[in-house]
């Protein structure tokens, strides 16, 4: 982990990262964009998660709900990644040791693995349950995991500022 620590220290001291950290307006603006883009990703994926859990839109096919929300989810993902990388670069040295930030990264890995497992397992049989109001257990687990993980990621992200 020593090389990772060195990378964070190097990134922290690059001139763009320093400029962003010391800026009066740029940092709060990037932070505001990051917070607002949560709505695009987490708020939209939650609708698909609630369909997988059999709570909402029970009369609509799962694949149709996915097509309705996923473009918004991916837009949010792009904005969150870009603004998140900028914020991380500006505070790379502090972030490296921040326990809330480390937890957030771990949760992000889990949130990324969840759909990979979902699409490789229960989604392969989607034709059998696409229109069913009550989805298979594996699909409900995927929806519940996504809802829980994204909520925890938001909470860990908020906590990151408290540990700084």
């Amino acid at each position: 982990m020593e090389s990772l620590r060195h990378f964070c220290l190097w990134l922290n001291d690059t001139s763009p990262a320093t400029a962003l950290r010391e800026s009066l307006w740029a940092f709060p603006v990037v932070e505001t964009i990051h917070v607002l883009a949560i709505t695009l990703l987490a708020g939209s994926i939650a609708i698909l998660d609630l369909r997988l859990l059999g709570v909402l839109l029970r009369g609509t096919r799962v694949t149709v709900v996915a097509r309705q929300v996923l473009p918004v989810v991916w837009t949010g993902f792009a904005i969150l990644t870009a603004s998140g990388l900028l914020l991380f670069a500006a505070e790379a040295a502090k972030s490296y040791t921040n326990p809330a930030f480390r937890l957030k990264l771990l949760l992000l890995v889990l949130a990324g693995l969840n759909p990979l497992v979902y699409y490789r397992t229960v989604y392969r049989r989607i034709d059998q349950w696409n229109a069913c109001p009550k989805t298979p257990l594996a699909a409900r687990i995927a929806g519940g995991a996504s809802l829980t993980l994204w909520a925890a990621i938001i909470a860990a992200g908020r906590a990151t500022a408290y540990f700084n």
């Binding site: 709060p28 932070e31 505001t32 917070v35 607002l36 949560i38 709505t39 695009l40 987490a42 708020g43 939209s44 939650a46 609708i47 609630l50 909402l56 839109l57 009369g59 609509t60 149709v64 709900v65 097509r67 309705q68 929300v69 473009p71 918004v72 994204w150 909520a151 938001i154 909470a155 908020r158 906590a159 408290y162």
Partner: protein
Amino acid sequence: MHLLALFQWLSHSPVGHYMQKSTWAFAVAETIHLLALAALGGSLLIVSLRTLGVLRQIGGAELAAELLPVTIVSLAAITISGVLMLSEESLKCYYSPAFRAKMAALAIAVAVSVPVHLAQAQRSDEELPWWVPVGAAVSLLAWLSVAVAGRTVGFL
């Protein structure tokens, strides 16, 4: 009652005292506020984009009706957590230009989005009056202003 008196009353209420004394209550309320923002913003955005003709996979009325509970529950959660946060620092908020701007934008956002959301849930695409798509766009802009002003309250 003068508005300032209301803010002073909130600050001196048992809830205000609890929020001011507690170490974690503000952080918890802030996190709930953020989670509710994600849910509220997501449901309003998906319904409004549908009304504006972007992403038309699901019928507009069905989508709006199904997401109405998400909108109502997240609106309740964001209001309650917001009042809790306000009670901790109500006088600071009373004099904060960002907070005043946020409340003005909030009044517009609620006044516009409630009738728009209800109309979206009750009528099919062909029956939608002209003011519904206009209202959907105004509502999105107003909610965006509420969120930006809200973030600014923390900075000032």
